[in-house]
């Protein structure tokens, strides 16, 4: 090599990362089905579920008003729908890992001089970018949920969404490392996504006005435990903080859990991918 090793190393890693990232994005753009899912899911949840259930969401139990809720149901589930859309797209994007293995493309990448970590990072960043885009599709519906967002809210929200997308795409890769068939992955990912979503206090609110003692009277204890141990609870909570300025937990907890998810799942994905 006549040129300096440093220039080559930089070009290899930057170019390789870009190529792998861009390939994921390009494939997602060319796949119409994925895009249709990304649009129809939030429409269903925001316009039909949200608007339909909106009138029933009041601070009353058996006709007796106990407290005033500072937001509508539509506003309440809006951040959760963003999380749902990101979750679906992130985890589904890991299908490309199975695809690559099945159709031999993985080998093409493995015989390149790129280290495994760079390959995996490019792939996850690509999937996360697509997922972030699908999250933004929901954001377009903000006016239907009567949300007026400042630039600062949006910036904060996007950062949290990006973190969430990265963590969940890594989780998808971890799952794809274990389940190697397309069909199995589809079934399993649904079995992961929906419970995570429903137990993240996304659609059924934990009543903000109740003390923890009162909450545990109203809700069964096992459900409370599941909700508290579900990392998505804190992700949705952080997004609520950004978009409707309401949080059940301390403000630092959401970002901390999101960063934790990103780091842990990426490390797990890398461990699995290095053995592949």
């Amino acid at each position: 090599m006549s040129e300096s090793g440093l220039a080559y190393t930089f070009r290899l890693h930057a170019g390789g990362l870009y190529a792998i990232w861009f390939r994921e994005v390009k494939r997602a753009v060319r796949d119409r089905g994925q895009l249709i899912g990304g649009v129809s899911r939030p429409l269903l949840w925001v316009l039909i579920m949200g608007i339909g259930l909106n009138p029933y969401f009041r601070g009353e139990v058996y006709g007796e008003v106990r407290f005033v809720v500072p937001y509508t149901y539509l506003q309440f589930i809006f951040p959760a729908v963003i999380a749902l859309n990101i979750m679906y797209t992130s985890i589904q994007s890991a299908v490309s890992v199975i695809w690559d293995r099945q159709f031999g493309f993985l080998r093409e990448v493995l015989v390149s001089p790129l280290p495994r970590a760079t390959i995996l990072l490019g792939k996850i960043l690509g999937g996360a970018t697509v997922a972030l885009f699908h999250g933004c599709l929901v954001l377009v519906l903000a006016r239907f949920a009567d949300l007026s967002l400042s630039i600062g809210d949006i910036a904060r929200g996007l950062l949290l969404m990006a973190l969430l997308a990265f963590g969940l795409t890594s989780l998808g890769v971890v799952i794809a490392g274990r389940i190697r068939s397309f069909e199995g992955f589809g079934v399993f990912s649904n079995a992961v996504i929906l419970p995570l979503y429903f137990t993240s206090s996304s659609v059924f609110p934990l009543d903000p006005s109740l003390t923890s003692a009162q909450t545990s009277v109203i809700y069964p204890e096992w459900l409370m435990i599941v909700v508290r141990f579900n990392p998505m609870t804190y992700a949705v909570d952080a997004l609520r903080g950004a978009f409707i300025h309401f949080q059940q937990f301390d403000a630092w907890m959401g970002p901390a859990v999101l960063v934790g998810m990103a780091v842990v799942f990426f490390a797990m994905a890398l461990r699995g991918f290095s053995k592949a």
Partner: protein
Amino acid sequence: MTAAIQIDGVSKRYGRTVALDAISFDVAAQEVFALLGPNGAGKTTLLHILSTILRPDSGTVTIGGVDALAHPTRSRRDIGVVFQEPSLDDRLTVFENLNFHGLVHGVPSALRRRRIGELLDLVELTDWRDKLVRTLSSGMKRRVEIARALTHDSRILFLDEPTVGLDAQSRDRIWRYIARLRSTRDLTVVVTTHYIEEVEACDRVCIIDHGKILALDSPATLKATYGQQLLRVVPHADAAAEIAMDYPDATIRPDGEMVLQSSGDVFAESFLARYGSRIRRLSVEEPSLESVFLSLTGREIRDQAATGRERTLAFGRQGGEHTR
């Protein structure tokens, strides 16, 4: 002359099956080196080890003077690989596939564009540059893969069964490209195949079976050393059993043809004297790599490729029970 590849005592087993048993050989720079063997002989396993995606259980592999097992990423800069199974992204265009390869190998952009243009020209796919790979025929895909393996500064090209499943015309083309490439750049080629006729043009041939090297030399030397005259006989039905009794070494091909290893003209004459009136067809085959393979492994390489359906049909032609 420096060796492009040095393999020393490479072994690999899958469970109890020994895929490679202490394989050692050198490949000289700018040589065209063929690995010949039936399916399951260990060719692909060896090629995967050489292309650093599979680690051997023991032994050393040196590529371009670098220990490929200790520094796989360094070795990968020097090698281009065309795998047996297609490994293109068929949802990307031809150009996108090649450009991706260039990027993940750190090829600077100006050089990348120029070289992709040249290579597409070489494999006669310039008009298909912006077509999605999935719209290409399998022969064209193979050509894209060969072009791709050379988009970076690869000095060693590994081809795993590059022509399997292709029609005769496409196979010729691929060998023509390889010949043309060797005249324009410093290139060592290691190719696996079970098409004997393709091996004739290679510099050296390594015949392997059951993970062991049976012979390694130039095609001419191999023929001189191991080659045998062959008698190909199609006997009448009644004579077949008798011939099989007399010549227990004879192999019977699925289409009813019997292949006898002849020791010379005397052998042929004595055979004709006995069975001359009871055979339908007879041909004498001068020493070829085919006969080298037969005498080394005791079976014909072509049989490996025959499918179950072909065998059944051949059985039927012989008057097998299906047609009775």
